[in-house]
Symmetry: none
DNA sequence: CCGCTTTTTCAGGAGACTCTCAGTTCGCAC
DNA sequence: GTGCGAACTGAGAGTCTCCTGAAAAAGCGG
C-alpha cells in the first residue's frame, strides 16, 4: 500500500506521513506540484493526497494533468480553508474526494481508506480510464473514441479495460483470461482472440486506427497514438 | 454527511460508528432515548439510526416524538430480534426503514445509503427535474414533454424520477426496485421492466424518441438528447 | 357491492450476448 | 519458398436478458 503525499508545508507533511506509516502504509513525499506530477505519472500508488496550494503547479492543475495523462489513481484534495474549494471545480478536475484544513488525522485516514476501498471495489481501478482519445467510463459502462460513443457489450468492455489499464505495456492472454473470464474459466482460450477481433472492429477499424496490437507469443497491447 | 446513531449497547455502537467513519461519514453517538431526541431535534443529520430498546425513552417514542416535532430526517430502526418489530407500528411512528439484529454491517450501510439517497431525491424533487424537453414537476406530480402534459400514474412517476435523477448515469434495476418499490419488496423484479415499458409508451413512442435506454445487464439510463 | 384504475404476476418470444469450432491467414525460422 | 504454430475470422448454436400482451389482484370511489 503506497501513498503519494503532495504538500509544501514540510512539517505538516512529515507528521501526516509518519501517521500513515504507523498505519502500515508506505509514503512518498513531494513538496511541489511538478515533482508530484512526475512521481504520480511514473509510479503506481494506491492513492494520492494532494494539497491545492502548491509551488510551481497548483493542485487543480496537477490533478487535471494527471487525469489527462490517463492516471486513474484515487485523489484526495486538501484545501486550506472551508469554502475555498469549489466542489464542482474539484470534481471537474477529477478529484475523488476532498478535505478542508484543519482536519483531524483520523478523518483523513478514514477518508483515504474509504477511497482506496471504493477504488478497489471498482477493480478496474476507478471510474474513468483515458488513453489518447479513447475514454472508458467504467462506472457508467460507456466507451468513447473522441466524441463518438462506442457501444460495447459487458465482455468487450471488461476486456478492453483490462488491456488499456496497463497501456502501453502488453498483457498476456493468460492474465486476460484470468482477469476477465475468471480464474475458473475452462473453455476455449481462443475467446480472447475472438473478442479482441470484436473490439478491433468497433474501436479501431471505423476510425482507421490500429491501437489494439498483437504481441505475438505474448498477448496484446493498447497503443494510444499511432 | 453526518449520521446520528442511537443505541445503548456501547461496544456495538462504537464498532458500527467506526465502520461508518471508515466509509467517510461523521457519526454522533447517543446511548439513551432522551439524549437521542435532544440531539436529533437540535441538529441536522443526514440520517438517524435508532435502536428500539433504549433506556429512558424507547425507539418508537423517540421516532414518534421527532416526527411530531417536525423533524423529517430519515430514520432507520434497529430491532433486537426478528418479529419483535411490528412493521405497521414502525411505519406509524414514522420510521423509513428497519433492520433486525443481528445484521451484517454492509447491509446496514447499504440500507442507510439508499435511505439518504431517497431522501435527497425527495427534497431535490420538491422542485422540478428537467432534462432536455422532459420536465418532472414532482411537487404537483405532473410530467411534461415540451408543452405536452403526460399523464403518469404514481408508480410511473416515481420510477421515471428515479431514472431521470441521475441522468445520464445509469441506474441498476436493483436500486430502482429498492428506491421505488421499497426495501421490503419481495415480488417479481420483472415489474421494473414492465413499468419501463409503460413509460416508454408514454414518454418516448408518441414523440419518436428513445430516451429511456436499456443498459443490458445493469439497468436503465435516461438520455435527454439523441 | 360494483366498475374502473392501477399495480403486479406470468409466460412466451425476440433479440442480444457469449462461446465454440473449423477453416484461413499471418509471421517467423529455416 | 516452405513449414509450423500462432492468430484471425465467419458462422452458428446455446444461453440469458429483456420486452410485451394478457390476465389476475389490489385499490378506490361511488
Amino acid at each position: 500500500m503506497h501513498i503519494l503525499l503532495v504538500d509544501d508545508e514540510v512539517s505538516l507533511a512529515e507528521s501526516i506521513a509518519e501517521g500513515f506509516r504507523v498505519e502500515g502504509y508506505d509514503v512518498t513525499l513531494a513538496h511541489d506540484g511538478n515533482r508530484g506530477f512526475e512521481l504520480a505519472s511514473s509510479n503506481t500508488y494506491e492513492a494520492i493526497v494532494l494539497d491545492i496550494m502548491l509551488p510551481k503547479r497548483n493542485g487543480y492543475r496537477v490533478c487535471a494533468d494527471l487525469r489527462a495523462a490517463g492516471v486513474g489513481t484515487p485523489i484526495l484534495m486538501l484545501t486550506a480553508k472551508q469554502g475555498e474549494l469549489d466542489e464542482a471545480e474539484a470534481l471537474d478536475t477529477g478529484a475523488d474526494d476532498f478535505l478542508c484544513k484543519p482536519f483531524a488525522f483520523v478523518v483523513l485516514l478514514a477518508r483515504l481508506r474509504a477511497l482506496i476501498r471504493r477504488s478497489n471495489a471498482f477493480s478496474n481501478g476507478g471510474d474513468r480510464l483515458q488513453r489518447g482519445d479513447l475514454v472508458i467510463d467504467a462506472r457508467n459502462r460507456r466507451c468513447f473514441r473522441g466524441n463518438d460513443e462506442i457501444q460495447l457489450t459487458a465482455r468487450e468492455l471488461d476486456l478492453l479495460s483490462a488491456i488499456v489499464r496497463t497501456s502501453p505495456d502488453p498483457v498476456t492472454k493468460t492474465s486476460l483470461l484470468h482477469d476477465v473470464w475468471g480464474p475458473r474459466f475452462e473453455g476455449d482460450p481462443n475467446v480472447v482472440e475472438v473478442y479482441v477481433g470484436y473490439l478491433r472492429r468497433k474501436i479501431d477499424t471505423p476510425f482507421g486506427r490500429s491501437s489494439l496490437q498483437t504481441v505475438r507469443g505474448v498477448g496484446y497491447r493498447f497503443q494510444p497514438e499511432k
